[in-house]
Symmetry: C2
Subunit: 219 residues, 2 copies
């Protein structure tokens, strides 16, 4: 907020705002990175003191950049969503011109990118879900952004094929939750291969329970 206040008409005020902000530009990002480091190291119980120490500063500085702990959590969640949505968009890039036949390929790539993402940074996810209430605006924003991206693709394909696009948003939420929880459960014990997991989920999303098992044993 107010990164560079514009000049006012009074001379006194001009003198005030003339002073350059000594706040380094990339500082906030560096603090976020330090917070992430300590979260990855000590787990979800990372304290504000520890994060400040990791960044080589003290607590009040942290509170200057992020209003409070909640602000830091929100910033982390936003960054999380940025990377995740970017990856998903990449996987869904050519989904618009996907026909029914290669729809499985799009779904497969999207699920794989999601699974890979929550797999490679479990600490951040754990920190967010533990310290933010499930109704936390930042977490809702993450879900809505991811689901929104998916819902857009579904809606496009449905309308292109003459289907009712209304369920798209519910479907998108369902898919997000499905991949998320199944991925988290899989990451715990890894009883099947990663490929099997993604294949199974792709089958479930694409053809559902009544159709998912069919290709394996065509009766």
């Amino acid at each position: 907020m107010t990164p560079m206040p514009d000049l006012t008409d009074t001379v006194a005020a001009a003198a005030v705002v003339a002073r350059t902000s000594r706040r380094p530009p990339g500082r906030r990002e560096a603090l976020l990175a330090a917070a992430l480091d300590v979260i990855r190291r000590v787990g979800t119980s990372a304290s504000m003191d520890e994060m400040a120490a990791e960044a080589g500063i003290t607590k009040p500085v942290l509170y200057r950049y992020f209003r409070d702990r909640d602000g830091l959590i929100t910033a982390l969640a936003d960054q999380f969503a940025d990377v995740l949505v970017a990856r998903l968009q990449l996987a869904l890039r050519d989904a618009a011109r996907a026909t029914q036949t290669d729809a499985d390929g799009v779904i497969h790539r999207a699920i794989e990118s999601y699974v890979g993402f929550i797999e490679e940074d479990p600490a951040l996810y754990g920190f967010l879900t533990q310290h933010a209430p499930p109704e936390h605006p930042a977490l809702i924003a993450v879900i809505e952004r991811v689901a929104g991206a998916i819902a857009g693709v579904i809606r496009d394909n449905f309308t292109a094929q003459g289907f009712d696009p209304r369920p798209a948003v519910t479907f998108a939420h369902g898919i997000v939750g499905m991949v998320h929880l199944a991925g988290a459960s899989w990451a715990r014990n890894r009883d099947i291969s990663r490929e099997e997991l993604v294949d199974d989920l792709t089958a479930l999303v694409s053809r559902g329970l009544t159709g998912a098992a069919t290709p394996l044993q065509p009766r």
Copy 2:
């Protein structure tokens, strides 16, 4: 721990254990109920002091019945799982003899019971997810119990129809996550009717993306 120490050989020790435990039988359940009450009233930030006060006792008594805060959370989660699984079993009762045709009915009932459950006690769910890490054994137990019940039904039907039962457990996890997140998102803004939500999720589970929209507009 040591709810009733067994008799030793010394007479003195025998005299010790002769004294009846003055701990009332239903006390633990009453304390759990009081904890639930205060959680429903003040939200996820309910403290141990508040819960003790609600039950008309003080903190150390609470710590005598539940080892620590984590023990109370575990007890709440277990109770949560008990009721949820019981409801699900009821909905899945006649799923074993379900044919392909009425499979949708079983799925529909199961999803409806789940949605209804997380809808009617959001405070408990919020408390659990906020105060327990996502890898908390008690939460994992809830997920595994629910998913296990669903996986059993899927596996039975798959094997009965000559399909490969291996993906059943992944499918179950996926379905749990799907209904859960879609239900939570729906409970926030309720932009569609409850029936539409359950119908959509049933379609997604049963026939997937490629088949879900078909019945609405058969091309």
